[in-house]
């Protein structure tokens, strides 16, 4: 066995004047966005020359309240931001000026928008809110968005949504303690699966690279790993979908609410963060055993990387080249964003 990995601080990025809620990496550049209670988004970029991370853009004056979530489109051309002001804004980078400009403001949610995510193809955008609904928007032309569906089956606020990495399948995490999986059938979106094993609010979910597994974290202080089982052979004429089943649960690695989970598409490691001020890196220990069970264990820890502050988000860099896949950005209640390298 090799020695356990460690996380080394690469950059400490200050500028936000309130807690940082989330970070989102650019799909093709060493660049990421962070969003904050200070109603702004900051874009941070690696200067290839001297290896430093610098704030290259501040997107403010658009949202009236906290920006809770942000996401780059898969082609990196657009950035979507979700705010407590009940709107989602899609920004586009002007090729001439290099400035990010408001391309569209998506209204419709009754109150706080909590999460925004682009589908893998970039043609669909999903948002979710305290109003218990999930909205699926279609990108029409190059600047219009049309509402395709409003999904209202969650009983409470929907905290977070995440698209499947390869298919048009959406996972949602809710204050109602459940995770739901959504699929499309002839323009109707429907809930194909409801995962009810967490004992409290599910704060976040993320898929693995293949999309056949899902990780979820909760106010119940547990991390759960779910794996798909192929659909049972059915006599019914209608199409059946694979379903997700819980194959592993980690309960001891965080001592308070777990707020975020990120499953690296590069190194297959899972990063979790929470109200106990910790970052934990979790790795699968071996292939599934005969009974389909998996073993997961913590392989690296940062005990107080943001001091006494909650860590709201950690995201792995999706770039494989130049070892960027080992980069992890964390966002805390201290208003600071930190970049770490797993070595």
């Amino acid at each position: 066995m090799s020695t356990q990995p460690t996380l080394q601080l690469v950059a400490e990025l200050t500028g936000h004047t309130d807690r940082v809620w989330a970070v989102s990496w650019h799909p093709t550049l060493p660049l990421f966005a962070s969003c904050s209670g200070d109603k702004s988004v900051r874009l941070w970029k690696l200067d290839g020359g001297n290896g430093t991370w610098n704030c290259v853009s501040v997107l403010d004056d658009a949202h009236k309240r906290t920006i809770r979530s942000c996401a780059f489109s898969p082609d990196g051309r657009l950035l979507a931001t979700a705010s407590f002001d009940a709107t989602t804004i899609v920004w586009e980078r002007d090729e001439d000026s290099g400035e990010w400009e408001n391309l569209a403001t998506l209204e419709g949610h009754e109150n706080e928008v909590k999460s925004v995510a682009w589908s893998q193809s970039g043609s669909l955008l999903a948002t979710c809110s305290r109003d218990k609904s999930i909205w699926i928007w279609e990108v029409v032309g190059d600047s219009d968005f049309e509402c395709l569906s409003v999904l209202q089956e969650h009983d409470q606020d929907v905290k977070m949504i995440k698209w499947h990495p390869n298919e048009e399948v959406l996972a949602s995490a809710s204050y109602d303690d459940s995770i739901r999986i959504w699929r499309e059938d002839d323009d109707d979106w429907y809930c194909s699966d409801t995962l009810k094993e967490h004992k409290s609010t599910v704060w976040a979910v993320d898929f693995n690279k293949a999309g056949d597994m899902l990780a979820s974290v909760s106010d119940d202080r547990s991390l759960k790993i779910w794996a798909t089982r192929p659909p049972k052979n059915s006599a019914l004429g209608y199409r059946q979908n694979p379903t997700y089943h819980c194959v592993a649960t980690l309960t001891e690695h965080h001592s308070r609410t777990i707020y975020s989970v990120a499953w690296s598409k590069v190194n297959n490691l899972i990063a979790t963060t929470g109200a106990d001020n910790c970052v934990r890196i979790v790795a699968q220990q071996a292939a599934a055993d005969a009974s389909g069970g998996y073993t997961y264990a913590v392989c690296a820890t940062l005990t107080a990387p943001h001091g006494y502050n909650d860590i709201n988000s950690a995201e792995w860099c999706p770039l494989e080249k130049d070892g960027h896949g080992a980069l992890l950005a964390t966002a805390g209640d201290d208003g600071v964003v930190r970049v770490w390298r797993l070595i």
Partner: protein, 562 residues
């Protein structure tokens, strides 16, 4: 944000407990002033005021009426308990029982005239579920309400809908002319500039769906001037029954008890609107709305099945029917309506406007099949369809653009386009300008410039209303129960079910033929006899209404729901 109909369609997990989620401030009537008494709560949830001498007075429990819900922006959904306790089949039973008692005791002056007005969508839903024709259902409903339960009259809201169609079409033409007049005369537009800005006239949006109206009033005040001022068929029947029939029978409005049978729970909310309340007689135009599902419940409460029920002959009074075809031994049969199963507003208004504004005569089939200059373009989903009318002189440029938009998602996309403060930023504006210069792309971007939109809150429209019958769950088949079936199976089954009800609705027109509203001679006669002419003040009062933006209530910090 949602519609109550949508909530009621599924299970009621959105049920609101008045004490917690409802933010309506509740006034407690205290018997004594000052802080010298306490409140006690007993095991059953009753409240007692305990004064210092130990005396207890039971306090009233806070209750929330339909009107409170209507006037409040606290939540968009309304609790089913509120709806059901105030308007249900139980209330109808009570009125019928009181009538029976009054007759037994010789108090004929206390007998209320009971009128039941049934929607054609309810008829179709029952027909689909029990494999009957809508005509058979109608005849059996006549027997059930009149002979079995003792109601005095059963009417058909497809009849009052002809008033709604005629009034809507005339209002559309009026708006269209005003709109184009203002556009072609820039000078007059400047002088009345403010008025024009305050009252946009096009697109005109349908007004028959109470879920949509309620939603628009609570969240999109700016859109209200776009909504057709014409009352819904239910409320026009209300005027007809309380104002015309009451006078005809020499009975004051409060001695007529009017029940509407509707495909939709939100119709209960509509009936409760202040606009439809008569202060003089303290009565509503529609006293009680029961859904199709509640009618089915009535059958089973009376241990009846519609398949085994007796039937009465169709009558002509306030019923959309053809009089006495030869082969039917002089007994009237139901007359069909054109267009969608949500009332056919788009179809009739398009035909009327084409004729009045452009001198083009269209048949209902032209609109349905897209012939004679009508172009039909399916939208992004099956609940969105665009209709355009082009004149022979210029078959490329539409002179009228209409659309059907059903369901929440399509309403959203529509209101986004009508929003006076477009939310797009600099980039999008530049894009659009760029695209306008580009002739080929121009056609794609101007699709939002509709003249009329038939909006309904429910996907598939009224035939799929929240109060309609649910498909028979077949438990005897072994396996295959609804609960255990895959979601895709349920989706497909639900589509089949809606298609069946839709088929039943349309079968009336197929079997008996379409009767356009202007061919409904009874309606024409009523314009003269009841309404004192077509454009009279009385016609305006009886057939039109107003909408009111509901102010946001979250200015009260104590009542903020966070």
């Amino acid at each position: 944000m949602t519609f109550s109909g949508a909530v009621l369609l599924t299970d009621l997990n959105d049920f609101i407990t008045p004490s917690q989620a409802c933010i309506k401030p509740v006034q407690i009537e205290r018997t004594s002033q000052g802080a010298d008494s306490q409140i006690r709560l007993d095991d059953t949830g009753g409240y007692y005021e305990v004064s210092q001498d130990g005396g207890e007075t039971k306090l009233e429990t806070a209750s929330i009426s339909l009107n409170d819900c209507l006037a409040c922006s606290g939540c968009i959904t309304s609790a089913e308990s509120v709806l059901v306790t105030l308007q249900s089949q139980k209330e109808l039973y009570e009125v019928l029982k009181a009538n029976q008692l009054a007759v037994q005791q010789g108090r004929t002056q206390d007998v209320r005239v009971v009128v039941v007005s049934v929607s054609p969508q309810s008829r179709a839903s029952i027909a689909a579920k029990y494999d009957l024709s809508p005509l058979d259902v109608w005849k059996r409903l006549l027997w059930f309400y009149k002979t079995f339960l003792g109601a005095h009259h059963v009417f058909d809201t497809a009849f009052s809908r002809d008033f709604a169609l005629i009034e809507s079409a005339k209002e559309f033409v009026r708006r269209y002319r005003e709109h184009h007049h203002a556009q072609t005369q820039p000078d007059s537009a400047t002088t009345t500039g403010q008025e024009t800005a305050a009252r946009p006239v096009l697109p005109m949006l349908a007004s028959a769906c109470p879920g949509w109206i309620c939603y628009a009033e609570k969240t999109h005040g700016y859109i209200l001037p776009h909504i057709d001022s014409t009352k819904s068929p239910q409320q026009i029947m209300g005027s007809l029954v309380k104002n015309y029939l009451g006078a005809k029978l020499g009975v004051p409005a409060n001695r007529v008890y009017h029940v509407a049978v509707m495909p939709c729970y939100d119709k209960k909310l509509e009936a409760s609107r202040k606009d439809f309340y008569d202060d003089v007689y303290s009565t509503r135009d529609v006293d009680c709305v029961i859904t199709t599902g509640e009618v089915e419940k009535m059958f089973s409460e009376q241990s009846l099945c519609i398949n085994d029920m007796q039937a009465l002959d169709v009558e002509m009074t306030f019923t959309k029917a053809f009089a006495s075809p030869e082969e039917n031994h002089g007994i009237p049969i139901l007359a069909g309506s054109e267009g969608s199963s949500s009332g056919g507003y788009l179809s009739y208004i398009l035909r009327y406007a084409a004729h009045v504004l452009f001198g083009v005569s269209l048949t209902p089939q032209d609109v349905e099949n897209g012939t004679n200059g009508v172009h039909i373009r399916p939208g992004r989903n099956s609940d969105f369809v665009e209709y355009a009318l082009c004149l022979p002189a210029d078959p490329e440029t539409p002179v009228l653009r209409f659309a059907l938009a059903y369901g929440f998602r399509n309403i959203q996309n529509l209101v986004r386009k009508i929003n006076p403060a477009p939310a797009a930023g600099a980039v999008a504006r530049r894009r659009r300008q760029h695209r306008r210069a580009n002739a080929a792309a121009a056609a794609a971007t101007t699709t939002s410039a509709y003249d009329y939109v038939e909006i309904m809150a429910c996907p598939s429209g009224c035939i799929n209303g929240g109060g309609q019958l649910k498909p028979q769950t077949n438990d005897s088949g072994g396996g295959g129960t609804a609960a255990g079936a895959a979601p895709t199976t349920l989706l497909a089954a639900s589509r089949d079910w809606i298609a069946k009800a839709e088929g039943a609705y349309r079968s009336v027109a197929v079997d008996g033929g379409i009767q356009p509203p202007e061919a409904n001679q009874a309606v024409t006669a009523l314009y003269t006899e009841w309404l004192e002419g077509e454009e009279s003040e009385k016609a305006r009062k009886m057939l039109h209404t107003e909408y009111h933006a509901v102010e946001k209530m979250d200015v009260n910090g104590l009542a903020v729901n966070w």
